[in-house]
Symmetry: none
């Protein structure tokens, strides 16, 4: 077995002398008392789209689930193992989370693969291909008509996917019920990994920059 | 629709004037060139166990998948949607990741639920319960014998689970093959959310503190 | 006949005591010597998208043609009166312009009308409807599939239209020839009338913000 | 593709830090609410005759159509594409404009070409030549008799052309009807690009300086 990656050990040392040293009291209290984040973020695994960095968050602030393409499946109580659904159930039922944010990002490899007519399974398991079927026929609905540039199609699908995931999230009965009672708020966001800009979804489903 | 959580908007503003401003060139290059992280971390959603904070990582450094209990299922090419498996396939087949770290942590709610004989489904979907069946009968194998304190049982199962997940990870044919060829290294780690200490798994499956 | 609009008389008085007074020498020289703008802008009539304001331009700087929807027709030497084509011919053949910029903008009423399946002629002349046929079947190609929000479709069509107008501009033989010889450069731009941002078209046909 | 003209990028930066910053609230409101200019100006493309500069106008104030020679064709509902007519239809039918000003200017290249007996097509398309046929035989009616200096002929034709365009504008049935009902006012103006003076047409068709 190889030695543990040095960049992680170095980074952890910085954490200990930096943030941990500064916030030690709070960190220890949270360990004792349990976590009480008010916001869950469902984000992508992409190394350029980490919620804690984008939102400058500290320990205890965000309950974060990350999967390929920040996808949320519809509510399917079929007895199978559904990791993202388990995360949502945990956030809502155990942590009584107040906000769920589904955050997509630009140049998402998962979306690129979903839009690629030449995508072939990378392995007989084809877990990526099967996972992306969560987008249904949205990619073909968007079309290949050449009017949009590849970059415009990519961004469009990233946002269509977020809206789709939000719809799926609302198919969870307790999510819909708590939203109705104003006890839970559902949000969409899209992060531009190049400019660093955060685009937030409004009531029309459009993504806008809140600070402008 | 509620307005976007203010703590996230504030945090993002700090990110823009802080890290983004400082690392803008590198961030933009990564957006253009694509991500090239060398390490994948499979961690828990827990707000107190964020890899970017624990390892003081910056944008582009870590490909991160987070689920409840940082569990990895065995390789099951059965045509179903497997999110964690899709993440592993993406990291290995697309990003040619050099390291996969499965990181558990202390006081993990998922492990607590798995150990709790009185755990009942929180919803008819019982996604948490079904998700935790990934631990098989390890909880009952560990026993209820009272010899270990509840905290010791908790820590023990967290580490047993990491070892189990590592075994499952190695059931992915390409993971085993690349490890064999020394092109991929698999690691286990356990983070103490109170003391901030990082424990790393050695060849025997034991968790030790590397700096000591 | 009504008296001349007072806001125009007042504005002109401000011009005379302000800019005219400051730039009088240069203004008189240009009257004598003839105009020598190096850039032509083809923009929309929209009161919120005036090139001189957007580019803080002074007298003599921009040769500006404005029509509904900043549309450029293909080169059609059919003996009819083609105002926009006459403007292009004047800019290139008489003024030896170095740059032609086709600038569209957000919330363009012309584009909205082109996308509106319920649009009906406002007058038996239906000049607007006939003018918009310059977009051909691009609106129906874009589709009505509901994946994009109305705002997203609007912005998409505004940019598709600019790309289409640029293609039409390049069908003018002298435009294509001068571009080939590097004596004329053709550009696309899209102005956000809300945020004031200027998006510029790159080689891929994508609209980006140059300052980021 | 060449990089976007720097003078435009610089000008836009000035706009953003100057006018946009000062008028941001109003500009954003207009983007949301739609444009409500009360005056349409039909002006020439000439870089020395920009309405926004001459009238010190701000965003949202003027609906501006600019073509070579600020010409207005007669009402011709013949199914062809008529850009200037489309602009008039839009201003009157969509924006319910209160004033239409046709503004010509001194040393107008379009008028010079129309008066030049030696003018030859600059291209086989001869769009300029065809466009100027909108003046009909007015140039030859004015004569070549040498009594007027070239400059006097130029100014005379510029003003004759404005009167001609006003007649053509009034051939639009809805323009005539709304003028009759006092809901729309039609004006002529002529701008001296050297002295900056604005001459306004009175009921007799004469151009006078209003402030005198």
């Amino acid at each position: 077995m190889h030695s543990f990656p040095q960049h992680l050990l170095d980074g952890h040392a910085h954490f200990m002398s930096g943030r941990y040293a500064r916030e030690k009291g709070r960190i220890r209290d949270m360990a004792e008392a349990g976590q009480t984040p008010t916001t869950m973020i469902i984000a992508c695994c992409d190394s350029r789209a980490a919620p804690e960095l984008i939102f400058d968050a500290g320990p205890g602030e965000l309950f974060v689930l990350r999967n390929v393409g920040n996808l949320v499946p519809p509510y399917e109580p079929d007895g199978n193992q559904h990791g993202t659904s388990a995360g949502i159930e945990y956030a809502v039922k155990v942590l009584n989370i107040a906000n769920i944010v589904i955050m997509g990002h630009g140049r998402c490899g998962g979306i690129t693969a979903a839009l690629d007519p030449k995508f072939r399974p990378l392995d007989k398991g084809d877990f990526i291909g099967k996972w992306l079927t969560m987008l249904g026929d949205l990619p073909s609905q968007l079309g290949q008509n050449g009017l949009l540039t590849p970059s415009e199609r990519q961004t469009a699908m990233e946002r269509i996917s977020i809206r789709n995931s939000i719809r799926n999230l609302r198919s969870f009965p307790y999510v819909a019920a708590l939203e109705e009672e104003d006890k839970l708020a559902v949000h969409g966001a899209w992060f531009d990994i190049s400019t660093g800009e955060l685009w937030v979804m409004n009531e029309s489903g459009d993504f806008i920059r809140p600070e402008l």
